[in-house]
Symmetry: C2
Subunit: 254 residues, 2 copies
């Protein structure tokens, strides 16, 4: 899925704009191997630098409801290689693993020593109790450059009574579109997020979050996103997001 | 601060747009007294319906750092009534209490029975361990119709390694602007959130989030917001938000 091991930093998402003109560090960093906080697919390429295998939060657990499981099974079936003799369905998705903090498992020299904070956890995976907050799995379809995320909203995400907080919805949109952008380019940061809330999402609901690439323009990546009911009949939220490719050094300087 | 007890629902924030034309339930609901998930100032008016006093998360705890405490003390001093004989500083702020879920403490008939979910918790207050996620307190200045929020970002809010997740920043912006809107009007919902990320926020930082009312136009409330370093010298994020006044029945129908 990612285009090369040299792009391992492409999951290294940032949140804020940075000065233009600094040369990307892709070449410089390509040999520094560590997992990032974003969903990555290259875990199999990096077994030696992990102290132990981290938990993959994108796999089913007992809290996943019927809708979540049905959609997961649907995309998972489409992510399998076409078996010999079977008809190729032509729609190939890849599930993206997801961790709560993987830098702590890695070693990597001066860059890592500056940014490792052992207690830190990815915002969307900071509660381990299954089903209480963000349950989600992201699939990526490379031929169409689009993502589909199945999201089940737990009872700890409340905004208005009985409904999901607008910030939690924005968080999932940022997560899906940011993951999408990071699969297309070097490390990225969110520059803009523009979210239109169309109808509230009840707590406990499962929804579908789909993102598509609108365009790439130099360092800019434009992605749009829709949050709908799982059958697509009800629109909950629409959003656009702009990401900038950055160099890792930007974060380290701050 | 709130203009009348009849506006007790004004903290009842929703997230998503709703059909126009439904008559507001302000009159109908003004006698239904219950605390909402948003910051409210009318807690003193509602002592009888609470089973026990909930924890106010906007008060200092041991995790608050020096910057957080300095700013808290600054606004807190300005929130006190001017003592007799002292000069009126002319800048009067009010601290807004904040709870993790207060509907569970209330009783209120059919409306409440539909929306009470005993396990639900406000997204920004769903982790009780002090200092690990969102530590914040919001102050409101009524004469200028503006809010100031002091926000200390814990290590469970990570996005890019060592930095606050863009979704967590959007969540705080939605929280501050939504609280602001709810103080000006009947129950509101977020219709749009447009966030520009200018520079990343390191985990553990304390920042200042300030919101001002841009305009009110019928049911629409436009608010803009800036996230800066505590001395205002560094801009982290800028945002605009649009809220719609709604009737409580909108949520109950969904």
């Amino acid at each position: 899925m990612a285009r090369s091991v040299g792009r391992i930093f492409s999951g290294f998402r940032c949140f804020g704009s940075l000065p233009f003109g600094n040369p990307p560090l892709k070449t410089q960093c390509s040999s520094v191997l560590f997992r990032t906080t974003s969903e990555r697919t290259l875990v199999h390429a990096l077994p030696k630098i992990f102290a132990r295998k981290p938990r993959d939060f994108s796999l089913p657990n007992s809290s996943w409801g019927k809708e979540m499981m049905q959609l997961y099974n649907h995309y998972n079936r489409l992510s399998k290689e076409t078996a010999e003799g079977q008809e190729d369905h032509g729609e190939r998705w890849t599930r993206l693993p997801s961790y709560n903090r993987t830098l702590k498992y890695a070693t990597g020299g001066v860059y890592l020593s500056k940014i490792i904070q052992s207690k830190a956890r990815l915002f969307t995976r900071n509660i381990r109790d299954p089903g209480t907050s963000f349950e989600y799995v992201i699939f990526f379809r490379q031929d169409k450059l689009k993502c589909a995320c199945i999201f089940q909203a737990g009872h700890l995400l409340e905004g208005a009574p009985g409904h999901v907080h607008g910030g939690a919805i924005a968080t999932m949109i940022d997560t899906v579109t940011g993951t999408h952008a990071s699969l297309l380019s070097a490390p990225v940061m969110t520059a803009n997020l523009n979210v239109n809330y169309r109808s509230p999402i009840p707590l406990g609901s499962t929804v579908l979050i789909e993102s598509i690439l609108d365009k790439e323009d130099g360092r800019k990546i434009y992605i749009s996103c829709r949050v709908t009911s799982t059958d697509g009949s009800k629109l909950h939220t629409e959003a656009t997001a702009l990401f900038l490719s950055i160099s890792v050094s930007h974060l380290l300087k701050r």
